[in-house]
């Protein structure tokens, strides 16, 4: 006879409720009839794009719904206890001790007021009645297991004193504190740099294996989930698309939607002829240094690179590498403290306030967060019209016509969207507005600062295709800031790799990505998860061997 499953979800419906007194079934379903079975010690990967209901399902598996949501049907049975109808005290009693949760942002999910070890010990002491001293000794063991540096000492720090990757491991350690049967991992490495991500993935997987813990591993990254999970479920709009063992799912996805998720990485902008040696670059950074505040440390140290007309230069690096700062210096948003920025061979003043209107017009920017970069009170038409009026002086009917032209260029129907406001648009549409606003000035250079990072893969691909098409039509140049190697492969002609405020390596895309010369570039490229179940083992083994 087979063992009963640890977690069994049947026909689960979770909906956003319009109000407490409305009838079940009247709200919008976030989870719509999901079935899920998890055996002891098994790791199930949940993947899907944002809004697919992954987190809602993960929390639902703990018998928890966020404010404004509620269970509207079906059941969640954890080890014989039905959670959706259980008393709150019963549900609370299972948490930490039997089911634990690891959140996406460890930095935001640790209480800033307490030391890590106190937060680790909270529920082992409270719910299991163990002595604080015993639990603290235990914590050191778990920290060591999670491969945290200084396991004896790190628990006595406050969250703000510990780096992001370490915090994420400390949070996993905290989830393990009561040795639960099930841990929900909700995008635990999404906020981390790729080189940090590897360490955390390795530590999580080993710990889950060592303790025989079952896990729901939620992520939007296929490559990551294929390292962690025994089985994968693909979700979309709160419904199951497809479910299969990891190997099968990778080798032979059945559904169109699943295949489209796989295919995203296939896009590549058409290659361009390499410019001759003696052609003057359009934008040139020459030994630029910069710091925040007069006495701050230099965040850029003698950074030099060239962007040629009609080409795309990708500036790649992890957080804190100085890639965005370099872009801000080129824009003049952060005045450089040394070196030079040339446009067409002419030096630009460090501060944008000292630049002429013509100089400003030639360099425009698109921001990462389209949400915050667009004024929510303004209509789309007005948002695009503003730089047109400022730079080109168009007025009246001509202005409206040009706005409509730009909206058509970014594939947004002006008849539909002209009078809408940003709040009524999707993330991808908002980013298109950002592009139109930058193009309105008729610039020669557009700085794209992580423009696809906040978007789902399919949507991001649409944006990349649009940018590539506009480049072909208009001959503009892109300075493309990103941390994502797949994006670089898709859009770049030339690549600059940055670390600690310096350029590590630079050259044409094929040379830097396929034949890297510097150790850092190699490790950065090797850290990018691959859609191959053996990738994590291989990279971790190589790392150990390299030491």
């Amino acid at each position: 006879m087979s063992q009963p499953p640890l977690l069994e979800i049947r026909d689960l419906v979770i909906e956003a409720s319009a109000g407490k007194r409305t009838a079940p079934g009247s709200g919008k379903a976030l989870i719509d009839g999901i079935n899920l079975t998890l055996k002891r010690g098994e790791v199930l990967g949940l993947i899907g794009e944002s809004g697919a209901g992954k987190s809602t399902l993960g929390l639902g598996a703990m018998g928890f719904t966020r404010d404004g949501c509620r269970f509207a049907g079906g059941s969640v049975t954890f080890d014989g206890t039905e959670l959706t109808s259980a008393r709150p005290a019963v549900r609370r009693g299972l948490r930490s001790t039997r089911i634990a949760y690891v959140a996406q942002s460890a930095a935001a999910s640790f209480n800033p007021a307490y030391k890590l070890i106190r937060q680790y010990a909270e529920f082992p002491v409270l719910a299991q009645g163990r002595s604080r001293r015993e639990v603290e000794a235990d914590a050191v063991t778990t920290y060591r297991q999670m491969k945290l540096p200084n396991p004896e000492e790190i628990g006595f720090r406050y969250p703000h004193q510990v780096s992001g990757g370490q915090l994420q491991r400390a949070m996993t350690a905290m989830a393990m504190a009561c040795r639960p049967d099930l841990i929900i991992f909700d995008e635990p490495t999404t906020a981390l740099d790729v080189t940090t991500q590897i360490e955390v993935l390795g530590a999580i997987r080993d710990a889950v294996r060592d303790f025989g813990t079952a896990a729901l591993y939620i992520t939007h990254d296929l490559a990551v989930v294929s390292q962690m999970a025994d089985r994968i479920m693909v979700l979309r709009h709160g419904k199951l698309v497809e479910e299969a063992a990891t190997e099968t799912m990778l080798a032979d996805p059945q559904e169109e939607y699943t295949r489209s998720l796989w295919a995203v990485r296939a896009f590549e902008a058409p290659a361009k002829p390499v410019p001759a040696e003696d052609v003057q670059p359009l934008v040139s950074l020459r030994k630029v240094t910069a710091s925040y505040g007069r006495i701050g440390p230099d965040v850029l140290r003698a950074v030099s690179f060239d962007l040629h007309a009609g080409r795309t230069l990708a500036v790649v690096g992890e957080s804190g590498s100085g890639k965005t700062t370099a872009a801000r210096c080129a824009m003049g948003l952060l005045p450089r403290s040394g070196g030079d920025v040339l446009l067409d061979g002419v030096s630009l003043p460090p501060d944008y306030r000292k630049r002429s209107k013509a100089q400003l017009q030639q360099v425009q920017i698109i921001y990462q967060m389209a949400d915050t970069a667009l004024n929510p009170k303004q209509k789309i038409g007005d948002i695009i019209a503003r730089p047109l009026k400022f730079y080109t002086g168009l007025r009246g009917r001509k202005l409206t016509a040009r706005v409509r032209e730009l909206m058509t260029a970014i594939d947004l129907d002006p008849d539909v969207y002209y009078h809408r406001r940003p709040g009524e648009l999707s993330g991808g549409q908002k980013q298109r507005i950002g592009i139109a606003r930058a193009l309105a000035a008729e610039p020669r250079v557009v700085i794209c600062d992580e423009v696809t990072s906040a978007l789902d893969q399919l949507v991001a691909e649409g944006i990349l295709r649009l940018l590539a098409r506009l480049q072909q039509e208009l001959g503009i140049s892109y300075l493309f800031i990103t941390h994502d190697i797949a994006t670089v492969r898709a859009i770049a002609d030339d690549v600059v790799v940055m670390q600690h405020g310096q350029v590590v390596e630079a050259g044409p895309k094929a040379q830097v990505l396929d034949n890297p010369q510097q150790d850092y570039t190699k490790s950065l490229l090797a850290s990018v998860p691959e859609m191959d179940a053996g990738w994590l083992d291989r990279v971790l083994t190589e790392r150990v061997a390299a030491r």
Binding site: L59, M62, F64, R66, A89, R92, G93, L94, R95, S96, T97, A100, Y101, A103, S105, A108, S109, F110, N111, P112, A113, E122, F123, A127, R157, Y158, H160, Q161, V162, S163
Partner: protein, 320 residues
């Protein structure tokens, strides 16, 4: 740690500097009044000879800066000078009155702060329900009425109709503590009604912000019950904003009690100030103003220090 000590010392220094500026302002504003102290003391009976003699006696012929420094020097040694009207030592007059005012403020604080913070927590937890709405309506209504109206309203109900509490609060240095508590209750309740809304709203707003944060959700997901979520996980992070608004209100209860004290004929600093203004007893007015200013500066200073000490980011610098 030394960085925190530095910050605190800096705050103390700034507080003292503010106090110095305020003392100068208080002194100068009296200087600008038409006529001088000698004219006011002598009033109608002034003749050029008596005025000159009195000015000589009071030292009014020395330059203002010198008099200011002498005044300040005296205060630093606990000597506020003498009343122009009855020649009594101001320090002695103030001592009793200040004690009474502080007693009233302390009593109002003890009622108002737990009440306001408690209501704020309740309103935050039950936000957008009828409990939240009634708490808001109640406290905001209380603060919307003028102080004297609230005071007379309470007198009408508790003294005139119910007869439970006295309508005037004359206490002396020989009043027993139990009598004093009863006598001070109505003015303390009036102050409570006036200050609760601020503190309640701030507690509610800070807590609602905090309850939406990931680490509070994390506490729930770790299995913490409501009480633990609020008391252990949320409130310690709300100390800074709440303490700041509490400090402002305590300072207000010391410096802003003028009307309440007058209504209840309570012998505190506020009433002294009103009396002294009407008698043109400028030296006493100066002293009272300085004490009110000190109360504001002191309580804000304390709030600043508590805010600094409650922030682990400041207390425990990064060792990364």
């Amino acid at each position: 740690m030394s960085a925190v000590l530095n910050m605190i010392l800096q705050r103390v220094f700034l507080g003292l500097l503010t106090l110095l500026v305020v003392s100068a302002l208080v002194f100068v504003s009296v200087e600008f009044l038409p006529g001088d102290v000698a004219e006011q003391i002598l009033g109608q009976s002034a003749t050029p000879e008596t005025l000159a003699a009195l000015r000589e006696q009071l030292g009014l012929n020395t330059p203002p800066v010198q008099r200011y420094l002498a005044w300040l020097g005296g205060i630093l040694q606990g000597d506020f000078g003498r009343s122009v009207i009855n020649q009594r030592e101001i320090t002695a007059i103030l001592a009793d009155r200040l004690g009474n005012t502080l007693f009233l403020a302390a009593m109002a604080t003890l009622i108002a702060v737990p009440l306001a913070v408690g209501l704020g927590i309740l309103a935050a937890l039950k936000r957008n329900t009828w409990i939240d709405r009634w708490i808001n309506i109640g406290t905001l209504t209380a603060i919307s009425f003028p102080e004297f109206f609230v005071a007379y309203g309470l007198i009408y109900v508790f003294s005139a109709k119910l007869g439970w509490l006295p309508s005037i609060s004359v206490v002396g240095s020989d009043t027993a503590l139990s009598d004093r508590l009863v006598l001070t209750l109505l003015p303390a309740l009036t102050l409570t009604l006036i200050v609760t809304a601020h503190m309640m709203r701030m507690t509610r707003a800070s807590l609602i912000n905090l309850l939406a944060l990931p680490y509070v959700e994390m506490a729930r997901l770790k299995g913490a019950a409501q009480r633990r979520v609020v008391v252990v996980h949320a409130l310690p992070n709300a100390v800074a904003p709440i303490v700041n608004v509490i400090a402002l209100n305590i300072a207000y209860m010391i410096a802003g009690v003028v009307i309440v004290e007058v209504v209840f004929v309570y012998p505190g600093l506020g009433q002294l100030l009103v009396d002294s203004v009407s008698k043109r007893d400028v030296t006493v007015v100066q002293a009272a103003c300085l004490i009110f200013a000190s109360a504001f500066i002191l309580f804000n200073l304390v709030a600043d220090v508590i805010s600094i000490l409650s922030n682990p980011r400041l207390l425990h610098r990064s060792t990364k």
